[in-house]
């Protein structure tokens, strides 16, 4: 469900709660809901992750394909984003219903993630000007319960962490002809450095205050929200105001401060979790959708 309708009385109740730093579900203003992360859930992708945040369910699959580098940056590979707002999430998305939202989401994601600050795009280059890796990051929206951006960004970071790109060798002969050879050892693969990959923190202005990880009800009470992409060092790489209302400059700087703080704090436990999960190795029982 992309949005809900809230009555005036409910609105007042929610806004009063936020004012007192006690939200309807008992959280404080800067608290996230319960989050479940699992990687490597789709075995035929090169990297995948499933994230549930409240009732928001996101599945991300990364597939690496060999493509041609863009003319302006011949020594870099690039990422492509596609967000599939499937009818599973809500019947509104049936047919082409989810397309608009999907395009909006994927464009934002492209801006946030496809730059050399978040990922070393040079490491995706195979042969300058001729071949590079293109990472297709496909986001599948399975259930919407607010705060999609944050959940998607975490899922993308987890999926990129999980991504293993097969190692390739370029054999070159005297004539300059190049041949790409894949390593025949399945263990022989390249990992991405995801340290600098930012997480998105969306702050919702509710009354005079702002909250992170807004539920659909809270979103309905908010006039506007601010999207921030924050790296593990607390650096903000992207800011975007969203929603119909307007924000005054003061609250924007306030929200930025909160966003930086929350975003910075988000990275360390996420990385810990991912490393711990990887440490389980092959013996890890994969759960996926089976509970």
């Amino acid at each position: 469900m992309a949005s809900v309708q809230v009555s005036e009385a409910e609105k007042v109740y929610i806004m009063h709660g936020v004012r007192d730093d006690l939200r309807v579900d008992g959280r404080g203003c800067e608290d996230y809901r319960h989050m479940v992360i699992e990687t490597d859930v789709v075995s035929n992708t090169d990297g995948s992750a499933k994230v549930s945040l409240g009732h928001s369910d996101i599945l991300v699959g990364v597939k690496a394909e060999i493509g041609k580098p863009r003319a302006l940056v011949p020594d870099e590979g690039y990422l492509e984003f596609f967000v599939d707002c499937s009818a599973n999430a809500t019947p509104e998305f049936e047919g082409r219903g989810g397309e608009e939202l999907g395009i909006d989401l994927s464009n934002t994601l492209y801006k946030v993630f496809n730059n050399k600050h978040s990922i070393d795009l040079r490491s995706l280059c195979i042969c300058p000007g001729e071949h590079c890796w293109v990472l297709y990051v496909d986001v599948l929206l399975l259930q919407c319960d607010g705060n999609l951006f944050d959940a998607i960004s975490i899922a993308i970071k987890a999926a990129l962490f999980n991504t293993r790109i097969p190692k390739v060798h370029i054999s070159e002969d005297a004539e300059g002809g190049k041949e790409i050879e894949l390593s025949d050892d399945p263990y022989d693969c390249v990992r991405l450095n995801v340290e600098n990959v930012p997480c998105i923190v969306t702050l919702c202005k509710v009354g005079q205050r702002h909250v992170v990880d807004a539920t659909l009800q809270e979103k309905a009470c908010s006039v506007a929200s601010l999207l921030l992409a924050v790296t593990h060092k607390g650096m903000v790489t992207c800011v975007r105001k969203m929603g119909g209302g307007s924000l005054d400059p003061e609250s924007i700087s306030e929200m930025t401060e909160t966003g930086k703080r929350v975003g910075k704090a988000l990275h360390a436990p996420l990385m810990d979790l991912l490393k711990k999960e990887e440490g389980l190795g092959k013996n890890r029982q994969k759960v996926g959708f089976l509970r």
């Binding site: 075995s43 035929n44 297709y136």
Partner: protein, 245 residues
């Protein structure tokens, strides 16, 4: 014969199964909270999600309304990363439209639609990973989702594929077997009445072999129905334990 050997002299298939053996089936109902019914199924490496909304008022144009029964609305889509080679779009191509239609036909035969006049039931299925038998995984997942939504049906609808290699019918083909050439038959069965909800076969096959192939597919469907029944009972038990507390 060039290519892969689909059935070894010792009677084993590529993945080590015997001719009539199914892949490992795992399923779960009630995956999502927001939908009226949902289910997830794994048949080997083929993974499908199904959600059901409804019965509810008919959305969109009124002209679709049936005054004596419910409209079944299906959409089949595939995650862009579900296939070995990345798909450009999840649905809307000819193949998915055809699949949507097939699902609609299958469930019109099974759901007691006359109980819900002037309403609509949405069935959305999504293939998360594809390794042969997409249609059957979708049917099986949708059956569970319908059960989860509490929509009355004549019977479980169980679907399975069967193929034909060197005079031996193979049950529940994986992708490598489907693409190995030869006939593939997809069958959706209402196991108790042994009625057939849908049968589809693309390649040419002699009539004499059809019975054998149908029987193999039906046998596989019956096997599957046992598994699905087990999943439903397990789910009910879990839910009733929760509600008792």
């Amino acid at each position: 014969m060039a290519g892969v050997e689909l059935l070894s002299d010792q009677g084993y298939r590529l993945d080590g199964r015997k001719a009539s053996e199914l892949r490992k089936v795992q399923a779960r109902m009630g995956v999502f909270a927001q939908a009226d019914g949902s289910a997830y199924i794994e048949q080997g490496n083929t993974k499908a999600l199904a959600v059901v909304y409804g019965p509810h008022e008919v959305r969109g144009s009124r002209s679709r309304t049936m005054h004596d029964r419910a409209v079944i609305n299906c959409q089949y889509s595939m995650a862009t990363f579900s296939t070995a080679e990345r798909k450009r779009r999840p649905h809307g191509d000819r193949k998915s439209s055809e699949m949507s239609l097939h699902l609609k036909q299958t469930f019109e035969a099974a759901v007691l639609t006359q109980l819900y006049p002037r309403s609509q039931i949405d069935i959305y299925v999504k293939i998360l990973q594809s390794d042969g038998g997409n249609y059957s995984a979708c049917v099986n997942a949708a059956t569970l989702a319908l059960v989860d939504a509490g929509i009355p049906m004549r019977d479980y609808v169980c679907a399975c594929t069967a193929g034909f290699v060197e005079d031996t019918p193979l049950a529940d083909l994986c992708h490598a077997e489907e693409s190995g050439g030869g006939t593939t038959l997809a069958l959706a069965l209402l196991p108790r009445s042994r009625h057939i909800a849908l049968v589809q076969m693309d390649a040419r096959l002699h009539q004499d072999h059809l019975d054998m192939l149908m029987e193999a597919a039906a046998e596989a469907c019956r096997g599957l129905s046992k598994v699905l029944d087990g999943v439903v009972r397990q789910h009910l038990q879990e839910v009733s334990v929760l509600t008792r507390d």
